[in-house]
């Protein structure tokens, strides 16, 4: 009996949590009069499939391409810079490492909106704003690198030190042991963390909005925002855009959800 009660509570909570998502898809399919109808309908009476139209009229291909470019750039940069760092932080244990880890965590606390002004001034001075997408990649990398390092470090901590020592005695160099023993064993954790970083960067808004001036270089999040104005009423268009943008992310997340959950809790090994 208790199990069923818990199940019902779980379902209700999930429904509340997922309701906005449902509403987004619903509104994307409704006509403009049906959207403002009262009482509201919970299933579109006359569904409209205007996804292709919105894609074309809003030039979404370009926006999403820019978002993808930035997300991929951030992910590559973060993995290359962060993996080695996470490994070292997991292996060397002393007071300085504790301080370094604490500093890294502190950086994670600072919000983008706080950081963006100094970053803008600095990038402007060194001329980075001429290539604004690279500027966003760098700023976003700095933002998510701490998260990546902290999560990856947890993965490396779980790989027993003796495996590395066995490799060293077997005739491997330290670098060799890292690439051939540690990396393959931490692969799952690295993969999962990279996906999280990718998804976060794909939805980045503050830096893109502030550092990218030209519309044709803008990302999908900022593109969505151009719909909104003081007299916005094209809710159907907005929600269609949002649905197109969010659906691939949702699919990736659902495909990897088991790995993501286990990667974040139990870790990748065993």
């Amino acid at each position: 009996m208790k199990r069923y009660i818990l199940l019902v509570i779980g379902l209700v909570m999930t429904a509340i949590y997922l309701f906005p998502l449902y509403w987004m898809y619903l509104t994307a399919l409704k006509g403009s009069t049906e959207i403002f109808q009262y009482p509201p309908t919970f299933w579109p009476a006359d569904p409209r499939w205007n996804f292709l139209e919105i894609w074309k009229s809003r030039d979404m291909g370009r926006y999403i391409w820019n978002s993808l470019l930035i997300a991929i750039g951030v992910t590559i940069l973060v993995t290359v810079l962060g993996t080695g760092c996470a490994y070292v932080l997991s292996r060397v244990r002393n007071v300085w490492m504790e301080i370094a880890l604490f500093a890294i965590l502190m950086m994670q606390v600072l919000p983008s909106s706080l950081m963006v002004t100094p970053i803008f001034v600095m990038f402007n001075q060194i001329g980075l704003l001429a290539s604004p997408r690279i500027a966003v990649i760098l700023a976003q990398t700095a933002k998510v690198l701490p998260l990546y390092i902290v999560l990856c470090r947890a993965t490396f901590v779980q790989v027993p030190r003796e495996l590395e020592e066995a490799a060293l005695v077997d005739g491997s160099s330290r670098i060799g042991a890292f690439f051939r023993i540690m990396l393959p064993l931490a692969r799952n954790g690295i993969l999962v963390t990279s996906v999280l970083i990718f998804l976060q960067s794909f939805g980045e808004y503050v830096y893109a909005r502030s550092l990218i001036a030209k519309n044709e270089l803008q990302t999908a999040t900022v593109g969505l925002q151009t719909f909104m104005g003081p007299n916005a009423n094209d809710w159907n268009g907005i929600m269609t855009y949002a649905a197109i943008y969010v659906t691939p992310i949702l699919i990736v997340f659902m495909l990897l959800q088991r790995r993501i959950v286990s990667g974040l809790t139990a870790g990748a090994l065993k």
Binding site: P160, E162, L163, E165, A166, A167, L168, V169, D170, G171, S172, S173, R174, G176, I181, P184, L185, L269, K270
Partner: protein, 355 residues
């Protein structure tokens, strides 16, 4: 010929002095056990030989060459870890030949030697398995196989049997010993189990708190312990120790009971504080020719079937007597026990050294 020479070796971890002036010489082809209670530095010493720990001062030579500052891969040593440390993402075959692949040996040689090692250890039909699909004993064999395919100068074992159950442990003990006799490679074996050390090794190094207390052949350690610690550590059940004071003309008086005297016919300074050590298996019911007699009271009896451990009170101190077979005695009985004079060990109570 000496294969390993450890010369005035010291190791500090910050303020902690983990190895104190260690000197050990190991002959080629011998099987040496490093034994001691946990935290005595035996594993640190082994890891120093492997090159996994830096030394603070002193020298380590393998085959005549100093290896100080050299990384593990330049030392030609193989190590079997307590946790086996098998690479979880490689199957048995690749675990075993990883070292040869690193050295880029020719393919036929790799296959040939892996197969030969697998045959020796009875792993022939497990080569394609991942470590997680193996039992504890099989993992242990793979870890051994990984060491023997390399044909190294020195084998290092870090408590390799401590994760196995009792029956398998006894079996692997003799397996490792047999393997050693066939390969004739120098082996250094770390264990906290003195029985393992005594049964397997030609030469046993007893350590405590980073200091080598004594090194000798197993029977020498048993017969002639250098101090009270070694005497108590080697042998099972452990040696009984009774506080005593030297009287004149080689007579020792047990404390807390002036009546019990042991006549040893060995000269000590009168009044010297001593420990009298007697192994449980040397105390007996039946008198021999030059035996010393001691009176005791039985407090309890523990029988294991083949052996009986009789706990007695001797001069107010608890003492264990090991008796093969089943003695006809009961709790509360007064006994007269006998021990040969040469089996009585005497230690200085201040320095704890054998006198």
């Amino acid at each position: 010929m000496l294969q390993i020479e450890i010369d005035h070796l010291n190791k500090h971890y910050g303020g902690f002095h983990a190895l104190r002036d260690v000197n050990i010489a190991i002959k080629q082809g011998s099987f040496v056990a490093l034994v001691g209670p946990s935290g005595c530095g035996k594993s640190t010493l082994l890891r120093t030989l492997a090159g996994l720990e830096k030394t603070s001062s002193g020298d380590v030579r393998i085959a005549g060459q100093s290896v100080i500052g050299k990384p593990p891969r330049e030392r030609d040593v193989a190590m079997v870890f307590q946790s086996y440390a098998l690479y979880p993402h490689m199957d048995v075959e690749h675990n075993m030949n990883y070292s040869m692949r690193l050295k880029r040996r020719p393919k036929d040689e790799i296959i040939e030697r892996t197969r030969a090692a697998a045959e020796t250890l009875g792993l022939g039909n497990l080569l394609g398995r991942l470590p997680k699909a193996l039992s504890g004993g099989q993992r242990q064999r793979v870890a051994m196989g990984r060491a023997i395919v390399r044909n190294p100068k020195v084998f290092l074992f870090d408590e390799p049997l401590s994760n196995l159950d009792a029956a398998l442990r006894v079996h692997m003990r003799s397996e490792i010993r047999k393997l050693h006799e066939r390969l004739k490679a120098t082996s250094v074996y770390v264990t906290h189990d003195q029985v393992e050390a005594m049964t397997m090794a030609d030469h046993v190094v007893v350590m405590r708190a980073g200091v080598v207390e004594q090194q000798a052949s197993p029977l020498d350690l048993y017969d002639r312990p250098a101090n009270k610690f070694v005497a108590g550590f080697i042998g099972s059940p452990a040696m009984n120790f009774l506080p005593a004071t030297a009287a004149s003309n080689g007579v020792v008086v047990l404390d807390s009971d002036g009546a019990q005297r042991i006549e040893l016919k060995r000269g000590f300074n009168s009044g010297l504080k001593l420990w009298v050590g007697m192994r449980p298996e040397h105390l007996s019911w039946k008198p021999g020719s030059n035996d010393i007699a001691i009176d005791a009271t039985v407090t309890s009896i523990e029988s294991t079937g083949s052996m009986t451990f009789v706990l007695v009170e001797l001069a107010g101190q608890p003492v264990v007597v090991a008796h093969s077979g089943r003695p006809e005695t009961n709790k509360g009985d007064n006994l007269r026990l006998y021990i040969a004079a040469e089996n009585v060990h005497i230690f200085d109570r201040d320095t704890e050294l054998t006198l």
